[in-house]
Protein backbone atom coordinates (compact mmCIF):
# COMPACT_ATOMS: atom_id res chain seq x y z
CA UNK A 1 0.00 0.00 0.00
CA UNK A 2 1.38 3.33 -1.06
CA UNK A 3 0.74 5.50 2.00
CA UNK A 4 2.15 8.58 0.36
CA UNK A 5 -0.48 8.35 -2.38
CA UNK A 6 -3.11 7.50 0.19
CA UNK A 7 -2.55 10.56 2.37
CA UNK A 8 -2.17 12.79 -0.65
CA UNK A 9 -5.57 11.62 -1.86
CA UNK A 10 -7.22 12.13 1.53
CA UNK A 11 -5.69 15.59 1.78
CA UNK A 12 -6.90 16.46 -1.72
CA UNK A 13 -10.41 15.16 -1.03
CA UNK A 14 -10.61 17.02 2.29
CA UNK A 15 -9.47 20.31 0.78
CA UNK A 16 -11.75 19.92 -2.24
CA UNK A 17 -14.85 19.10 -0.22
CA UNK A 18 -14.13 21.96 2.19
CA UNK A 19 -13.73 24.34 -0.73
CA UNK A 20 -16.91 23.00 -2.29
CA UNK A 21 -18.79 23.67 0.92
CA UNK A 22 -17.68 27.30 0.69
CA UNK A 23 -18.27 27.66 -3.05
CA UNK A 24 -21.21 25.29 -3.39
CA UNK A 25 -23.47 26.96 -0.81
CA UNK A 26 -23.60 30.35 -2.58
CA UNK A 27 -24.02 28.67 -5.96
CA UNK A 28 -26.79 26.44 -4.63
CA UNK A 29 -28.38 29.46 -2.95
CA UNK A 30 -28.41 31.33 -6.22
CA UNK A 31 -29.74 28.32 -8.13
CA UNK A 32 -32.54 27.87 -5.59
CA UNK A 33 -33.76 31.44 -5.29
CA UNK A 34 -32.80 33.20 -8.50
CA UNK A 35 -35.64 33.95 -10.87
CA UNK A 36 -33.33 34.69 -13.77
CA UNK A 37 -34.83 33.26 -16.93
CA UNK A 38 -31.53 31.78 -18.14
CA UNK A 39 -30.90 30.05 -14.83
CA UNK A 40 -31.35 26.64 -16.46
CA UNK A 41 -28.19 27.24 -18.48
CA UNK A 42 -26.19 27.66 -15.29
CA UNK A 43 -27.83 24.54 -13.89
CA UNK A 44 -26.74 22.64 -16.99
CA UNK A 45 -23.17 23.92 -16.71
CA UNK A 46 -22.98 22.91 -13.04
CA UNK A 47 -24.25 19.43 -13.90
CA UNK A 48 -21.85 18.97 -16.84
CA UNK A 49 -19.15 17.06 -14.93
CA UNK A 50 -21.70 14.29 -14.25
CA UNK A 51 -21.95 13.40 -17.93
CA UNK A 52 -18.67 14.68 -19.36
CA UNK A 53 -15.79 12.17 -19.63
CA UNK A 54 -13.24 13.22 -16.99
CA UNK A 55 -10.58 13.36 -19.68
CA UNK A 56 -12.53 16.01 -21.55
CA UNK A 57 -12.95 18.08 -18.42
CA UNK A 58 -9.30 17.44 -17.55
CA UNK A 59 -8.14 18.55 -20.96
CA UNK A 60 -9.96 21.87 -20.72
CA UNK A 61 -8.80 22.44 -17.17
CA UNK A 62 -5.24 21.69 -18.28
CA UNK A 63 -5.54 24.17 -21.13
CA UNK A 64 -6.99 26.76 -18.79
CA UNK A 65 -4.24 26.27 -16.24
CA UNK A 66 -1.35 25.98 -18.67
CA UNK A 67 1.17 28.77 -19.13
CA UNK A 68 -0.44 29.71 -22.41
CA UNK A 69 -3.70 30.70 -20.73
CA UNK A 70 -4.13 34.01 -18.87
CA UNK A 71 -4.98 32.16 -15.65
CA UNK A 72 -1.87 30.01 -15.87
CA UNK A 73 0.35 32.98 -16.68
CA UNK A 74 -1.09 35.03 -13.86
CA UNK A 75 -0.54 32.20 -11.37
CA UNK A 76 3.01 31.75 -12.65
CA UNK A 77 3.70 35.44 -12.14
CA UNK A 78 2.13 35.37 -8.69
CA UNK A 79 3.83 32.26 -7.30
CA UNK A 80 6.78 31.69 -9.54
CA UNK A 81 5.72 28.23 -10.66
CA UNK A 82 3.11 26.99 -13.14
CA UNK A 83 -0.29 25.74 -12.06
CA UNK A 84 -0.52 22.63 -14.25
CA UNK A 85 0.99 19.46 -12.80
CA UNK A 86 0.91 20.82 -9.25
CA UNK A 87 -1.21 19.99 -6.22
CA UNK A 88 -2.97 23.36 -6.51
CA UNK A 89 -3.85 22.63 -10.10
CA UNK A 90 -5.20 19.30 -8.99
CA UNK A 91 -7.39 21.02 -6.38
CA UNK A 92 -8.84 23.35 -9.03
CA UNK A 93 -9.55 20.51 -11.42
CA UNK A 94 -11.11 18.40 -8.68
CA UNK A 95 -13.30 21.24 -7.44
CA UNK A 96 -14.76 21.61 -10.93
CA UNK A 97 -15.08 17.88 -11.33
CA UNK A 98 -16.94 17.36 -8.04
CA UNK A 99 -18.99 20.57 -8.19
CA UNK A 100 -22.36 18.96 -9.01
CA UNK A 101 -21.92 16.41 -6.25
CA UNK A 102 -21.91 19.23 -3.74
CA UNK A 103 -24.19 21.80 -5.38
CA UNK A 104 -27.07 19.50 -6.26
CA UNK A 105 -27.67 18.06 -2.79
CA UNK A 106 -27.29 21.57 -1.35
CA UNK A 107 -29.79 23.07 -3.78
CA UNK A 108 -32.21 20.18 -3.33
CA UNK A 109 -32.21 20.61 0.43
CA UNK A 110 -32.55 24.40 0.22
CA UNK A 111 -35.58 24.19 -2.02
CA UNK A 112 -37.10 21.54 0.25
CA UNK A 113 -37.37 24.11 3.05
CA UNK A 114 -41.01 25.18 3.29
CA UNK A 115 -41.58 28.59 1.77
CA UNK A 116 -43.89 29.43 4.69
CA UNK A 117 -40.95 29.37 7.06
CA UNK A 118 -39.17 31.93 4.91
CA UNK A 119 -42.27 34.13 4.92
CA UNK A 120 -42.61 33.76 8.67
CA UNK A 121 -38.96 34.67 9.14
CA UNK A 122 -39.31 37.76 6.95
CA UNK A 123 -42.38 38.91 8.85
CA UNK A 124 -40.41 38.49 12.08
CA UNK A 125 -37.92 41.03 10.77
CA UNK A 126 -35.18 38.74 9.53
CA UNK A 127 -33.43 39.68 6.29
CA UNK A 128 -33.10 37.33 3.35
CA UNK A 129 -29.51 36.43 4.19
CA UNK A 130 -30.34 36.15 7.89
CA UNK A 131 -33.25 33.87 7.06
CA UNK A 132 -30.96 31.74 4.97
CA UNK A 133 -28.47 31.47 7.80
CA UNK A 134 -30.95 30.92 10.61
CA UNK A 135 -33.68 28.90 8.90
CA UNK A 136 -32.58 27.42 5.58
CA UNK A 137 -29.08 26.27 6.52
CA UNK A 138 -30.00 24.53 9.79
CA UNK A 139 -32.88 22.76 8.07
CA UNK A 140 -30.60 21.68 5.23
CA UNK A 141 -28.11 19.92 7.45
CA UNK A 142 -28.71 16.56 5.83
CA UNK A 143 -28.19 17.98 2.34
CA UNK A 144 -25.01 19.76 3.42
CA UNK A 145 -23.59 16.57 4.92
CA UNK A 146 -24.56 14.64 1.80
CA UNK A 147 -22.94 17.16 -0.51
CA UNK A 148 -19.81 17.31 1.59
CA UNK A 149 -19.42 13.56 1.85
CA UNK A 150 -20.28 12.89 -1.79
CA UNK A 151 -17.78 15.42 -3.08
CA UNK A 152 -15.19 13.94 -0.71
CA UNK A 153 -15.88 10.42 -1.97
CA UNK A 154 -16.04 11.50 -5.56
CA UNK A 155 -12.66 13.25 -5.34
CA UNK A 156 -11.22 10.23 -3.59
CA UNK A 157 -11.82 8.07 -6.62
CA UNK A 158 -11.18 10.43 -9.50
CA UNK A 159 -8.75 9.39 -12.19
CA UNK A 160 -9.13 11.08 -15.54
CA UNK A 161 -9.01 14.66 -14.38
CA UNK A 162 -6.08 13.95 -12.08
CA UNK A 163 -4.15 12.28 -14.85
CA UNK A 164 -4.77 15.12 -17.27
CA UNK A 165 -4.20 18.01 -14.89
CA UNK A 166 -1.79 16.56 -12.37
CA UNK A 167 0.14 13.95 -14.23
CA UNK A 168 1.81 11.39 -12.02
CA UNK A 169 4.28 13.08 -9.69
CA UNK A 170 4.83 11.10 -6.46
CA UNK A 171 3.91 13.10 -3.38
CA UNK A 172 2.51 15.93 -5.46
CA UNK A 173 -0.12 14.61 -7.80
CA UNK A 174 0.01 10.84 -7.60
CA UNK A 175 -3.31 9.85 -6.01
CA UNK A 176 -4.55 6.38 -5.08
CA UNK A 177 -6.33 5.74 -8.36
CA UNK A 178 -3.21 6.72 -10.33
CA UNK A 179 -1.14 4.52 -8.05
CA UNK A 180 -3.41 1.55 -8.74
CA UNK A 181 -3.10 2.20 -12.45
CA UNK A 182 0.69 2.34 -12.15
CA UNK A 183 0.85 -0.91 -10.24
CA UNK A 184 -1.33 -2.67 -12.77
CA UNK A 185 0.85 -1.32 -15.56
CA UNK A 186 3.89 -2.70 -13.74
CA UNK A 187 2.18 -6.10 -13.41
CA UNK A 188 2.11 -5.65 -9.64
CA UNK A 189 -1.37 -7.08 -9.17
CA UNK A 190 -1.35 -7.92 -5.47
CA UNK A 191 -0.32 -4.36 -4.48
CA UNK A 192 -2.94 -2.96 -6.86
CA UNK A 193 -5.50 -5.23 -5.31
CA UNK A 194 -4.64 -4.12 -1.78
CA UNK A 195 -4.95 -0.45 -2.62
CA UNK A 196 -8.11 -1.00 -4.61
CA UNK A 197 -9.68 -2.84 -1.68
CA UNK A 198 -8.75 -0.01 0.66
CA UNK A 199 -10.42 2.45 -1.68
CA UNK A 200 -13.48 0.25 -1.96
CA UNK A 201 -13.88 0.00 1.81
CA UNK A 202 -13.39 3.73 2.34
CA UNK A 203 -15.91 4.56 -0.36
CA UNK A 204 -18.39 2.14 1.14
CA UNK A 205 -17.99 3.65 4.61
CA UNK A 206 -18.38 7.14 3.24
CA UNK A 207 -21.56 6.30 1.37
CA UNK A 208 -22.91 4.50 4.43
CA UNK A 209 -22.53 7.79 6.30
CA UNK A 210 -24.54 9.54 3.60
CA UNK A 211 -27.33 7.01 3.76
CA UNK A 212 -27.23 6.92 7.53
CA UNK A 213 -27.62 10.69 7.74
CA UNK A 214 -30.25 10.98 5.08
CA UNK A 215 -32.18 7.77 4.83
CA UNK A 216 -32.99 8.97 1.37
CA UNK A 217 -31.98 7.49 -1.94
CA UNK A 218 -28.80 8.57 -3.54
CA UNK A 219 -30.58 9.55 -6.71
CA UNK A 220 -33.03 11.86 -5.02
CA UNK A 221 -30.23 13.92 -3.55
CA UNK A 222 -27.79 13.82 -6.42
CA UNK A 223 -30.36 13.84 -9.18
CA UNK A 224 -31.42 17.12 -10.72
CA UNK A 225 -32.96 19.43 -8.16
CA UNK A 226 -36.60 20.31 -8.60
Amino acid sequence: MNWEAFWLTVRLAAIVSALLLAIGIPIAYWLTYSRWRWKFLVEAVVALPIVLPPTVLGLYVLMALGTRSPIGRYWDKLTGHPLAFTFEGLVIGSVLYSLPFAVQPFAASFSAVDDKLLRASASLGESTIGTFRRVVLPLSKAGLVTGFVLSFAHTLGEFGVVLMVGGNIPGVTRTISIDIYDQVQAGNYSAANQTALALLIISFLVLSVVYGVNRRTWMSTVGPSK
Partner: protein
Protein backbone atom coordinates in the same frame (compact mmCIF):
# COMPACT_ATOMS: atom_id res chain seq x y z
CA UNK B 1 -54.89 55.50 25.20
CA UNK B 2 -58.26 53.90 25.58
CA UNK B 3 -57.82 50.72 27.50
CA UNK B 4 -61.39 50.31 28.71
CA UNK B 5 -62.92 47.99 26.19
CA UNK B 6 -66.35 46.53 25.85
CA UNK B 7 -67.00 43.80 23.37
CA UNK B 8 -69.23 44.94 20.57
CA UNK B 9 -68.71 48.60 21.23
CA UNK B 10 -68.06 50.21 17.87
CA UNK B 11 -66.40 53.22 19.50
CA UNK B 12 -63.24 51.40 20.36
CA UNK B 13 -62.55 50.63 16.77
CA UNK B 14 -62.40 54.27 16.00
CA UNK B 15 -58.79 55.19 16.33
CA UNK B 16 -57.86 58.10 18.51
CA UNK B 17 -55.01 60.34 17.51
CA UNK B 18 -52.26 58.37 19.20
CA UNK B 19 -53.33 55.04 17.85
CA UNK B 20 -51.82 53.88 14.60
CA UNK B 21 -54.16 53.37 11.68
CA UNK B 22 -53.54 50.90 8.93
CA UNK B 23 -54.49 52.35 5.57
CA UNK B 24 -54.63 50.02 2.64
CA UNK B 25 -55.29 50.70 -0.97
CA UNK B 26 -54.11 47.91 -3.19
CA UNK B 27 -54.72 46.67 -6.69
CA UNK B 28 -53.40 43.44 -8.03
CA UNK B 29 -54.18 41.32 -11.05
CA UNK B 30 -53.59 37.59 -10.83
CA UNK B 31 -54.74 35.98 -14.06
CA UNK B 32 -58.46 36.62 -14.25
CA UNK B 33 -58.64 37.50 -10.57
CA UNK B 34 -58.73 41.18 -9.84
CA UNK B 35 -58.02 42.52 -6.39
CA UNK B 36 -58.98 46.10 -5.70
CA UNK B 37 -59.44 47.08 -2.09
CA UNK B 38 -59.45 50.30 -0.20
CA UNK B 39 -59.94 50.45 3.54
CA UNK B 40 -58.48 51.57 6.80
CA UNK B 41 -58.36 49.78 10.12
CA UNK B 42 -57.86 51.46 13.46
CA UNK B 43 -56.41 49.93 16.59
CA UNK B 44 -58.28 46.84 17.65
CA UNK B 45 -59.80 44.00 15.71
CA UNK B 46 -60.98 44.38 12.16
CA UNK B 47 -62.33 41.24 10.60
CA UNK B 48 -61.66 40.46 6.99
CA UNK B 49 -64.47 38.17 5.99
CA UNK B 50 -64.97 36.32 2.75
CA UNK B 51 -65.09 32.97 1.05
CA UNK B 52 -61.82 31.26 0.27
CA UNK B 53 -60.36 32.67 -2.92
CA UNK B 54 -61.95 36.06 -2.26
CA UNK B 55 -58.54 37.70 -1.94
CA UNK B 56 -58.19 37.95 1.83
CA UNK B 57 -54.76 36.38 1.95
CA UNK B 58 -53.54 38.49 -0.96
CA UNK B 59 -54.53 41.56 1.04
CA UNK B 60 -52.55 40.37 4.05
CA UNK B 61 -49.56 39.39 1.90
CA UNK B 62 -49.57 42.85 0.34
CA UNK B 63 -49.53 44.50 3.75
CA UNK B 64 -46.81 42.20 5.03
CA UNK B 65 -44.73 42.77 1.91
CA UNK B 66 -44.81 39.16 0.83
CA UNK B 67 -46.52 40.01 -2.42
CA UNK B 68 -46.26 43.20 -4.38
CA UNK B 69 -49.48 44.92 -5.44
CA UNK B 70 -49.63 46.33 -8.96
CA UNK B 71 -50.56 49.67 -7.53
CA UNK B 72 -51.78 51.49 -4.46
CA UNK B 73 -50.50 52.69 -1.14
CA UNK B 74 -50.17 51.01 2.23
CA UNK B 75 -49.35 52.94 5.39
CA UNK B 76 -49.23 52.17 9.09
CA UNK B 77 -49.42 55.05 11.53
CA UNK B 78 -48.74 57.43 8.66
CA UNK B 79 -45.55 55.62 7.59
CA UNK B 80 -45.67 54.27 4.05
CA UNK B 81 -44.77 50.63 3.50
CA UNK B 82 -45.75 50.58 -0.12
CA UNK B 83 -46.48 53.36 -2.53
CA UNK B 84 -46.61 52.72 -6.24
CA UNK B 85 -46.48 56.46 -6.97
CA UNK B 86 -43.13 56.98 -5.28
CA UNK B 87 -41.97 53.47 -6.21
CA UNK B 88 -41.65 52.55 -2.56
CA UNK B 89 -41.75 48.87 -1.68
CA UNK B 90 -40.25 48.28 1.72
CA UNK B 91 -38.94 44.72 2.11
CA UNK B 92 -41.08 42.51 4.31
CA UNK B 93 -38.47 42.19 7.02
CA UNK B 94 -38.24 45.94 7.53
CA UNK B 95 -41.99 46.51 7.83
CA UNK B 96 -42.52 45.32 11.39
CA UNK B 97 -45.87 43.84 10.50
CA UNK B 98 -46.71 40.78 12.57
CA UNK B 99 -48.17 38.00 10.46
CA UNK B 100 -49.49 34.73 11.82
CA UNK B 101 -50.22 32.27 9.06
CA UNK B 102 -52.95 29.69 9.21
CA UNK B 103 -50.49 26.82 9.42
CA UNK B 104 -48.33 28.80 11.82
CA UNK B 105 -44.97 28.00 10.23
CA UNK B 106 -43.15 27.44 13.50
CA UNK B 107 -39.47 26.75 12.94
CA UNK B 108 -39.20 22.99 13.35
CA UNK B 109 -35.53 23.07 14.33
CA UNK B 110 -36.02 25.50 17.21
CA UNK B 111 -37.56 25.06 20.65
CA UNK B 112 -40.60 27.08 21.71
CA UNK B 113 -38.36 29.60 23.48
CA UNK B 114 -36.07 29.89 20.47
CA UNK B 115 -39.07 30.31 18.19
CA UNK B 116 -40.43 33.10 20.36
CA UNK B 117 -37.00 34.77 20.56
CA UNK B 118 -36.46 34.50 16.80
CA UNK B 119 -37.52 38.05 15.97
CA UNK B 120 -35.51 39.62 18.80
CA UNK B 121 -32.05 39.21 17.36
CA UNK B 122 -31.26 42.88 17.83
CA UNK B 123 -31.59 42.63 21.60
CA UNK B 124 -28.89 41.43 23.94
CA UNK B 125 -29.02 37.78 24.89
CA UNK B 126 -30.22 38.66 28.37
CA UNK B 127 -33.12 40.88 27.38
CA UNK B 128 -34.00 38.51 24.58
CA UNK B 129 -34.30 35.73 27.13
CA UNK B 130 -36.27 37.95 29.48
CA UNK B 131 -38.71 39.16 26.84
CA UNK B 132 -39.43 35.72 25.43
CA UNK B 133 -39.82 34.24 28.91
CA UNK B 134 -42.34 36.95 29.77
CA UNK B 135 -44.22 36.26 26.55
CA UNK B 136 -44.30 32.52 27.19
CA UNK B 137 -45.74 33.25 30.63
CA UNK B 138 -48.32 35.69 29.25
CA UNK B 139 -49.52 33.01 26.88
CA UNK B 140 -49.33 30.32 29.55
CA UNK B 141 -46.93 28.15 27.61
CA UNK B 142 -43.83 28.45 29.79
CA UNK B 143 -43.91 24.70 30.33
CA UNK B 144 -43.19 24.20 26.62
CA UNK B 145 -39.97 26.18 26.79
CA UNK B 146 -37.61 23.47 25.58
CA UNK B 147 -39.93 21.59 23.28
CA UNK B 148 -39.79 21.54 19.52
CA UNK B 149 -42.97 22.27 17.51
CA UNK B 150 -43.39 18.58 16.68
CA UNK B 151 -43.76 17.87 20.40
CA UNK B 152 -46.40 20.55 20.99
CA UNK B 153 -50.17 20.13 20.67
CA UNK B 154 -52.37 22.11 18.29
CA UNK B 155 -53.75 24.81 20.57
CA UNK B 156 -50.40 25.34 22.23
CA UNK B 157 -48.70 25.65 18.87
CA UNK B 158 -51.10 28.49 18.07
CA UNK B 159 -50.01 30.19 21.27
CA UNK B 160 -46.33 29.79 20.40
CA UNK B 161 -46.96 31.26 16.95
CA UNK B 162 -48.85 34.22 18.42
CA UNK B 163 -46.25 34.77 21.13
CA UNK B 164 -43.47 34.66 18.55
CA UNK B 165 -45.15 37.39 16.52
CA UNK B 166 -46.38 39.57 19.39
CA UNK B 167 -43.03 39.62 21.20
CA UNK B 168 -41.59 41.63 18.29
CA UNK B 169 -44.12 44.39 19.08
CA UNK B 170 -45.37 44.74 15.53
CA UNK B 171 -46.99 47.95 14.34
CA UNK B 172 -49.90 45.99 12.97
CA UNK B 173 -50.96 42.41 13.34
CA UNK B 174 -52.24 40.18 10.55
CA UNK B 175 -53.94 36.94 11.51
CA UNK B 176 -54.80 34.58 8.68
CA UNK B 177 -57.34 32.19 10.19
CA UNK B 178 -54.90 31.35 12.95
CA UNK B 179 -57.56 29.70 15.08
CA UNK B 180 -59.51 27.91 12.37
CA UNK B 181 -58.34 24.48 13.45
CA UNK B 182 -59.17 24.91 17.14
CA UNK B 183 -62.20 23.89 19.17
CA UNK B 184 -64.36 26.67 20.50
CA UNK B 185 -63.20 26.86 24.14
CA UNK B 186 -59.53 26.91 23.15
CA UNK B 187 -60.28 29.53 20.54
CA UNK B 188 -62.09 31.70 23.10
CA UNK B 189 -59.19 31.48 25.53
CA UNK B 190 -56.65 32.49 22.92
CA UNK B 191 -58.86 35.35 21.75
CA UNK B 192 -59.04 36.55 25.33
CA UNK B 193 -55.26 36.54 25.53
CA UNK B 194 -55.10 38.44 22.26
CA UNK B 195 -57.57 41.02 23.51
CA UNK B 196 -55.57 41.51 26.66
CA UNK B 197 -52.44 42.01 24.66
CA UNK B 198 -54.26 44.46 22.44
CA UNK B 199 -55.34 46.48 25.49
CA UNK B 200 -51.74 47.43 26.14
CA UNK B 201 -50.56 47.34 22.54
CA UNK B 202 -53.00 49.47 20.62
CA UNK B 203 -52.26 48.39 17.08
CA UNK B 204 -54.57 47.46 14.24
CA UNK B 205 -55.32 43.73 14.09
CA UNK B 206 -56.60 42.35 10.80
CA UNK B 207 -58.26 39.06 11.47
CA UNK B 208 -59.08 36.93 8.45
CA UNK B 209 -61.83 34.36 8.63
CA UNK B 210 -64.43 32.72 6.46
CA UNK B 211 -66.53 31.59 9.39
CA UNK B 212 -69.78 33.50 10.07
CA UNK B 213 -69.74 32.23 13.59
CA UNK B 214 -66.32 33.66 14.27
CA UNK B 215 -67.34 37.06 12.96
CA UNK B 216 -70.25 37.26 15.39
CA UNK B 217 -68.13 35.86 18.22
CA UNK B 218 -65.57 38.62 17.76
CA UNK B 219 -68.27 41.24 17.28
CA UNK B 220 -65.92 43.74 15.73
CA UNK B 221 -65.68 45.82 12.62
CA UNK B 222 -66.10 43.62 9.59
CA UNK B 223 -64.88 44.14 6.06
CA UNK B 224 -66.54 41.75 3.66
CA UNK B 225 -64.53 40.79 0.61
CA UNK B 226 -65.88 38.97 -2.41
CA UNK B 227 -63.99 38.36 -5.62
CA UNK B 228 -61.28 40.81 -4.74
CA UNK B 229 -63.62 43.69 -3.89
CA UNK B 230 -64.90 45.07 -0.62
CA UNK B 231 -68.65 44.56 -0.71
CA UNK B 232 -69.60 45.68 2.77
CA UNK B 233 -68.13 47.21 5.88
CA UNK B 234 -69.51 47.73 9.36
CA UNK B 235 -70.44 45.84 12.51
CA UNK B 236 -71.38 42.16 12.16
CA UNK B 237 -75.12 42.63 12.58
CA UNK B 238 -75.05 45.44 10.07
CA UNK B 239 -73.19 43.67 7.32
CA UNK B 240 -73.42 39.96 7.89
CA UNK B 241 -77.14 39.50 7.50
CA UNK B 242 -77.66 42.41 5.22
CA UNK B 243 -78.99 41.47 1.80
CA UNK B 244 -75.95 42.25 -0.27
CA UNK B 245 -74.07 39.39 1.29
CA UNK B 246 -75.78 36.91 -0.95
CA UNK B 247 -74.24 37.21 -4.37
CA UNK B 248 -75.66 35.86 -7.58
CA UNK B 249 -73.56 32.74 -7.17
CA UNK B 250 -75.07 32.12 -3.77
CA UNK B 251 -78.57 32.65 -5.10
CA UNK B 252 -78.18 29.69 -7.38
CA UNK B 253 -78.74 27.20 -4.58
CA UNK B 254 -82.13 28.62 -3.64
CA UNK B 255 -85.22 27.18 -5.27
CA UNK B 256 -87.47 29.86 -3.83
CA UNK B 257 -86.53 33.43 -4.53
CA UNK B 258 -89.38 35.80 -3.86
CA UNK B 259 -89.65 39.56 -3.99
CA UNK B 260 -90.60 40.98 -0.61
CA UNK B 261 -91.57 44.27 0.96
CA UNK B 262 -90.72 45.02 4.58
CA UNK B 263 -93.92 45.66 6.53
CA UNK B 264 -92.68 45.88 10.11
CA UNK B 265 -89.48 45.62 12.16
CA UNK B 266 -89.22 43.78 15.46
CA UNK B 267 -85.91 44.95 16.79
CA UNK B 268 -86.57 43.51 20.23
CA UNK B 269 -86.66 39.98 18.87
CA UNK B 270 -84.25 40.50 16.01
CA UNK B 271 -86.69 39.84 13.23
CA UNK B 272 -88.77 41.65 10.66
CA UNK B 273 -91.94 40.88 8.81
CA UNK B 274 -92.22 41.22 5.10
CA UNK B 275 -94.99 40.70 2.60
CA UNK B 276 -93.97 38.24 -0.04
CA UNK B 277 -94.82 38.99 -3.65
CA UNK B 278 -98.11 40.71 -4.34
CA UNK B 279 -100.16 38.30 -2.28
CA UNK B 280 -101.20 38.37 1.33
CA UNK B 281 -98.44 35.98 2.48
CA UNK B 282 -96.22 37.41 5.18
CA UNK B 283 -92.98 35.96 6.48
CA UNK B 284 -91.07 36.63 9.64
CA UNK B 285 -87.39 36.71 8.75
CA UNK B 286 -84.13 37.57 10.52
CA UNK B 287 -83.45 41.25 11.13
CA UNK B 288 -81.47 43.12 8.59
CA UNK B 289 -80.71 46.77 8.27
CA UNK B 290 -83.76 47.75 6.28
CA UNK B 291 -86.61 50.20 6.50
CA UNK B 292 -90.33 49.57 6.42
CA UNK B 293 -91.50 49.68 2.84
CA UNK B 294 -88.14 48.79 1.31
CA UNK B 295 -87.97 46.08 -1.30
CA UNK B 296 -85.89 42.97 -0.76
CA UNK B 297 -85.66 39.42 -1.93
CA UNK B 298 -86.21 36.36 0.22
CA UNK B 299 -84.36 33.20 -0.65
CA UNK B 300 -85.50 29.90 0.87
CA UNK B 301 -84.11 26.48 0.09
CA UNK B 302 -86.83 24.03 -0.90
CA UNK B 303 -85.26 21.49 1.43
CA UNK B 304 -85.62 23.86 4.40
CA UNK B 305 -89.42 24.01 4.08
CA UNK B 306 -91.82 21.69 5.89
CA UNK B 307 -95.28 20.59 4.78
CA UNK B 308 -98.14 19.76 7.09
CA UNK B 309 -101.57 18.45 6.18
CA UNK B 310 -103.18 19.96 9.29
CA UNK B 311 -102.50 23.29 11.00
CA UNK B 312 -99.46 22.44 13.15
CA UNK B 313 -99.52 23.40 16.80
CA UNK B 314 -96.84 23.84 19.41
CA UNK B 315 -94.24 24.50 16.78
CA UNK B 316 -91.30 26.85 17.06
CA UNK B 317 -91.46 27.91 13.43
CA UNK B 318 -92.95 31.38 13.12
CA UNK B 319 -94.42 31.09 9.66
CA UNK B 320 -97.27 28.71 8.89
CA UNK B 321 -98.86 29.44 5.55
CA UNK B 322 -101.92 27.66 4.18
CA UNK B 323 -101.78 26.63 0.53
CA UNK B 324 -102.86 24.19 -2.12
CA UNK B 325 -100.70 21.51 -3.72
CA UNK B 326 -100.51 22.30 -7.38
CA UNK B 327 -97.98 19.88 -8.74
CA UNK B 328 -95.93 16.94 -7.53
CA UNK B 329 -92.82 15.92 -9.36
CA UNK B 330 -90.38 13.16 -8.64
CA UNK B 331 -86.74 14.07 -9.20
CA UNK B 332 -84.50 11.16 -8.49
CA UNK B 333 -85.02 10.53 -4.76
CA UNK B 334 -86.59 13.91 -4.10
CA UNK B 335 -90.25 14.82 -4.34
CA UNK B 336 -90.66 18.41 -5.46
CA UNK B 337 -94.03 19.79 -4.41
CA UNK B 338 -95.30 23.07 -5.76
CA UNK B 339 -97.64 24.75 -3.28
CA UNK B 340 -99.78 27.71 -4.21
CA UNK B 341 -100.24 29.94 -1.17
CA UNK B 342 -102.85 32.48 -2.24
CA UNK B 343 -100.95 33.36 -5.38
CA UNK B 344 -97.40 32.87 -4.10
CA UNK B 345 -95.75 29.62 -5.12
CA UNK B 346 -93.37 27.71 -2.85
CA UNK B 347 -91.29 24.79 -3.98
CA UNK B 348 -90.90 22.23 -1.20
CA UNK B 349 -88.62 19.21 -1.32
CA UNK B 350 -89.69 16.06 0.50
CA UNK B 351 -88.43 12.52 0.73
CA UNK B 352 -90.31 9.67 -0.90
CA UNK B 353 -91.37 8.38 2.50
CA UNK B 354 -92.77 11.77 3.52
CA UNK B 355 -94.92 11.86 0.44
CA UNK B 356 -96.32 8.43 1.30
CA UNK B 357 -97.03 9.41 4.88
CA UNK B 358 -98.79 12.63 3.94
CA UNK B 359 -100.59 11.10 0.95
CA UNK B 360 -99.98 14.20 -1.04
CA UNK B 361 -101.97 14.70 -4.22
CA UNK B 362 -102.51 17.78 -6.35
CA UNK B 363 -105.38 19.80 -4.98
CA UNK B 364 -104.79 18.82 -1.38
CA UNK B 365 -104.81 21.52 1.29
CA UNK B 366 -101.49 21.84 3.11
CA UNK B 367 -99.55 24.19 5.34
CA UNK B 368 -96.07 25.38 4.44
CA UNK B 369 -93.91 25.84 7.52
CA UNK B 370 -91.02 28.29 7.24
CA UNK B 371 -88.45 28.76 9.97
CA UNK B 372 -87.42 32.37 10.42
CA UNK B 373 -83.74 31.50 9.94
CA UNK B 374 -84.40 29.61 6.76
CA UNK B 375 -85.23 32.95 5.16
CA UNK B 376 -82.21 34.56 3.58
CA UNK B 377 -82.57 38.19 2.66
CA UNK B 378 -80.96 39.69 -0.37
CA UNK B 379 -81.17 42.91 -2.26
CA UNK B 380 -84.04 43.06 -4.68
CA UNK B 381 -83.11 41.68 -8.08
Amino acid sequence: MTSERVIGDPQRNRASNQEPVLEVSARKRLGTFNLDVNFHAGAGFTILFGASGAGKTTVLDSIAGLTRPDGGKITVGGRALFDSNSKLDMPAWKRRIGYVLQDLALFPHLTATENVAFGLRELSAASRQQRSEAMLRAFRIEHLRDRRPAQISGGERQRVALARTLVTEPRALLLDEPLAALDRPTKALILDDLRQWNDTHRVPILYVTHSHEEVFALGEQVIVIAEGQIVAQGLPHEVMSVPRLETVAQLLGFENILPATVTSLHEERGTLTCRVGAGPVELETPMVRAEVGSGLCVGIRAGDLLLATEPPRGLSARNIIPGLVRKIERRDVIIAVLVDCSGTDFEVHLTLAAREALQLEPGKNVFVVVKTHSCHLMTAI
